[in-house]
Symmetry: C2
Subunit: 104 residues, 2 copies
DNA sequence: ACATGCGTCACGTGACAGATTACGATCGAG
DNA sequence: CTCGATCGTAATCTGTCACGTGACGCATGT
């Protein structure tokens, strides 16, 4: 058995920007500018996303899902996985101090 | 058939603060202050959450899941549902302008 | 040579989670 | 009855972050 944490994630989950950069942009032959225009946001927004310099907002999830024909959850789940992984990491120490409450 | 949007949600999904207020606090006989102390955050943070004046952060999801013995996803999913619902609502008009791309 | 389009940088703005401090209310002990 | 402790909550400040705008360097094509 591998040593894993509760989520079963050893390393940081894939950032949604990576999916965009590695899969969606090439597959649909889209540029950063092109996608930005199609979604009605600035190039910066897409650029930062693709370079993983910001996280994917719920609004972006809606826009992307509308454009690519998938669900907002698809995008949001990817972002959540990253957020959760980061949160667990940064709270490791203080988490030890939180004692689970006995069942009601 | 009911008239629903794509997520099947007619009205705003339950805010995680409501779950806390209506279910968890009573069931475990916890006060706002008590929970705050147990989680290692300020009373304000819990109070605002319970009054649905702020949203549940990934870090809070981790703390709550640790304390109540459930998963962070449980809490995060609740928040996501609300966020998504709000996002769809506020983007309704501009969403119409986004034309789905033909499949690759 | 110049225009067009691309990715990227620098800057400003607004929104928001969180801590701190302070205030009024309630309640138990002396 | 008063004093202190505990509770919920309001006001304020701070740091972070998503987003837009404008400018820059670079490439390509006319």
């Amino acid at each position: 058995m591998e040593i894993e944490n509760k989520t079963g994630m050893r390393r940081r989950p894939t950032h949604p920007g990576e999916m965009l950069r590695e899969d969606f942009l090439p597959d649909y032959e889209l540029t950063v500018s092109g996608l930005a225009q199609a979604l009605g946001v600035s190039r910066q927004t897409i650029n930062d996303l693709v370079r993983e310099k910001r996280s994917l907002s719920p609004e972006m999830a809606v826009r992307l899902s509308r454009f690519f024909g998938n669900t907002p959850q698809f995008w949001l789940n990817a972002q959540n996985a990253v957020d959760l992984w980061d949160a667990k990491r940064s709270l490791e120490k203080e988490l030890a101090r939180i004692k689970p409450i006995p069942a009601a």
